[in-house]
């Protein structure tokens, strides 16, 4: 049994007086114990909403969530708010994108780390403070004891993200969800945080869902990658497979638009043409069709299904054949 099994997860936002919007459209994937799985896609593809649905953090009003999210066999979508509250921080941890706005500006780092220990481990404040200092040390924050009394604005961006990671991992959750954890950071700090995450999941055996728009992040970290487009998974493959031979034109486009150091001089980057707003609804055909270089007439009429192909899952009528030029 997988640690986390997401089956046919659908999230529909319904605002009064507006047409319902399907942010996540039948997404399925699984995360094994200790595995790192990537959810990749551009803004608005539903990757963050998926993570919030797993955490039970979507607002209750105006949102319809259906499908199934099983964690160690237990169905999370039908659990009561109280049960989910008990799970969050204990079984499921989460790290968010912007470390400054994700920390409470008027509460010291120490309290923000210890509160999760007090809540789930029933520790006293003084015991929790000792543990918190160890945690900060573990995530590579120098002089942790002094940092405990400091406030978020006194820490650098990288330190803040480290502190958030320490909070998320304080109770040794089985699953950590990282939602664009490096997007708001400098490039050098990004690399440090990714190295830290990969070391921590290795040491603690925590499974990790890495949500990102950055395939570079995925390349260094993930065992398996799910590429999302317009709320659906369009390609799923093991990391090496995906990078060596991207099959879906969208994945291919994403990879081709990354600048490479070993590319011949003067070669232009190939952007994916069009924008997300050009999509057609999945019910009509392939949502990516209007932007797709490999588009067939069929793509605009028949919705492609997820099919096993060449050791991976693919949702495409006319996948890419050739290999990416190395």
């Amino acid at each position: 049994m997988a640690l986390l099994e997401v089956t046919d997860l659908t999230v529909v936002f319904q605002r009064r007086g507006e047409a319902p919007f399907t942010a996540v459209d039948g997404v399925s994937f699984a995360v094994e114990e200790g595995q790192t799985v990537g959810l990749v896609g551009e803004s608005g593809c539903g990757k963050s909403v998926t993570s919030l649905a797993i955490m039970g953090l979507l607002p209750r009003r105006g949102v319809r969530v259906s499908g199934s999210v099983r964690f160690e066999g237990a169905e999370l979508l039908t659990e009561s708010p109280r049960q989910m509250r008990d799970r969050r921080g204990r079984d499921l941890g989460m790290v968010f994108q912007d470390p400054l706005s994700s920390l409470n500006p008027v509460v010291s780092i120490g309290i923000q780390v210890t509160e999760v220990l007090e809540r789930h481990r029933g520790m006293s404040r003084s015991k929790a403070m000792r543990v918190a200092a160890e945690l900060l040390d573990q995530v590579g924050i120098p002089d942790p004891r002094r940092r405990l009394d400091e406030y978020p604005h006194q820490l650098s961006g990288g330190m803040r993200q480290r502190a958030l990671i320490a909070m998320a991992l304080a109770c040794q959750p089985r699953l950590l969800i990282a939602d664009e954890p490096t997007t708001a950071l400098d490039v050098t700090i990004q690399a440090q945080i990714l190295a830290l995450l990969s070391q921590l999941v290795r040491d603690t055996g925590t499974a990790l869902i890495m949500i990102t728009h950055d395939l570079g992040v995925v390349a260094g970290l993930c065992d398996e990658v799910n590429v999302l487009y317009a709320g659906r998974v369009v390609e799923r493959a093991a990391r090496h497979e995906l990078f060596a031979r991207p099959r879906h034109p969208y994945t291919h486009g994403l990879l081709s638009s990354i600048p490479r150091l070993d590319a011949p001089r003067g070669e232009r980057l190939v952007p994916i043409r069009g924008a997300v707003t050009d999509n057609i609804p999945w019910t009509q055909g392939c949502a990516f069709a209007p932007r797709c270089p490999n588009v067939l007439e069929k793509c605009l009429d028949v919705t492609p299904e997820m099919e096993e192909d060449d050791g991976r899952l693919l949702r495409c009528h006319n996948p890419v054949r050739q290999e990416v030029p190395a």
């Binding site: 955490m55 953090l57 989910m84 509250r85 008990d86 799970r87 969050r88 921080g89 204990r90 941890g93 989460m94 968010f96 912007d98 706005s101 994700s102 920390l103 409470n104 500006p105 008027v106 509460v107 010291s108 309290i111 509160e115 999760v116 809540r119 789930h120 406030y151 604005h153 006194q154 958030l164 909070m167 998320a168």
Partner: protein, 336 residues
């Protein structure tokens, strides 16, 4: 912090000096004057001249101001001509200050005690009937003139229903011992429970009337601030840690939402005297507000000068306290 406080207090001196000049001139520009107020319309020219000279009002205004300033520095603010004729203005102030302080304290406590929790609740239940009722109610609260509300409260609860006393601070027959001038506190200190209870009953209606506007403003600001904070990423982080609702409410929502609310409470406290003038007049509550009202009617220059300067000082001091309290609530202010 100390240097900051000292600088602000020095600024206060400047404010008081400039205000005293403006006020001095402005009061004398009002139509009528203490002489007409004291002697009435049909006084002889002779008696008018005599009283004008007696009050020193026949001298040039600069001379009058110079004399006022000189005496004020030694604590003599002149004698009341209208509010409590013959008493020193300072005496009038000292006698009445505890009454207004007591009334304002209860009014602010009422406003905060109801405004903050209800504001929080309305934000949490945004868009429900409770929220809508609160928003409309607070709008009415801000819009209804204080004197009208005071009359209404007095009429319904004192005159018609007879539940609460209609005027004054204490029922005549009660022989209470005075210690601090705060009647409720006096009653508690001297264990004269009946006196304390009686004084408290006298406070209820005026405090309610006076609390309406601060309550409505505190409610609205709390609601808006909580709505802002609920959208913040750090509240989502707190939720992602599985913290209990009380911890999230207290530590993560209210602590941040309180920053604008504290400013509001300060401003409202400073502005309370304006409401007190009307409220105290309606309930014949012998405080500074009533003295101001009577003072204006009878053109009691010495009393008006002193009370308005004190009101301005209170306003500036309250704002100083608010600014300093920011440093306590917000660590980002402390370090800078």
């Amino acid at each position: 912090m100390l240097r900051y406080t000292v600088r602000r207090l020095l600024q206060l001196l400047g404010v008081v000096l400039v205000l005293s000049m403006l006020l001095f001139g402005w009061l004398r520009l009002l139509p009528g004057g203490p002489v007409s107020a004291l002697l009435g319309e049909r006084a002889t020219e002779e008696s008018r001249r005599q009283l004008t000279a007696q009050l020193g009002l026949d001298q040039p205004i600069f001379v009058q101001y110079g004399k006022f300033l000189g005496r004020a520095l030694s604590g003599d603010f002149g004698s009341s001509t209208g509010v409590q004729p013959g008493d020193a203005a300072l005496e009038v102030f000292l006698q009445r200050f505890p009454a207004t302080l007591e009334l304002s304290f209860f009014a602010i406590v009422l406003a905060v005690l109801f405004g903050i929790p209800l504001g929080y609740l309305a934000a949490r239940r945004r868009g429900t009937w409770l929220d809508n009722l609160g928003v409309v109610g607070s709008l009415v609260g801000v819009a209804v003139p204080v004197f009208f509300l005071a009359f209404l409260l007095k009429y319904v609860f004192a005159v018609e229903l007879g539940w609460l006393p209609a005027s004054g601070r204490q029922t005549g027959g009660i022989d209470a011992t005075r210690v601090t001038g705060f009647f409720v506190l006096d009653g508690l200190l001297t264990r004269e429970w009946d006196a304390a209870w009686d004084a408290l009953q006298h406070l209820v209606l005026p405090a309610m009337a006076l609390a309406t506007i601060p309550f409505a403003v505190v409610f609205r600001i709390t609601r808006a601030a909580v709505l802002d904070v609920l959208d913040e990423d750090y509240v989502r982080t707190a939720e992602s840690k599985g913290l209990t609702t009380p911890v999230i409410r207290r530590r993560h929502v209210l602590r941040n939402a309180m920053l604008p609310v504290v400013t509001t409470i300060g401003l409202q406290t400073g502005a309370l005297l304006a409401g007190a003038v009307l409220t105290e007049k309606v309930f014949a509550f012998p405080g500074l507000g009533e003295a101001l009202a009577i003072g204006f009617e009878r053109r009691d220059y010495p009393v008006l000068q002193l009370l308005i300067i004190v009101a301005a000082m209170v306003y500036v001091l309250v704002n100083l306290v608010v600014d300093l309290s920011y440093a306590v609530i917000d660590p980002r202010v402390r370090v800078r």
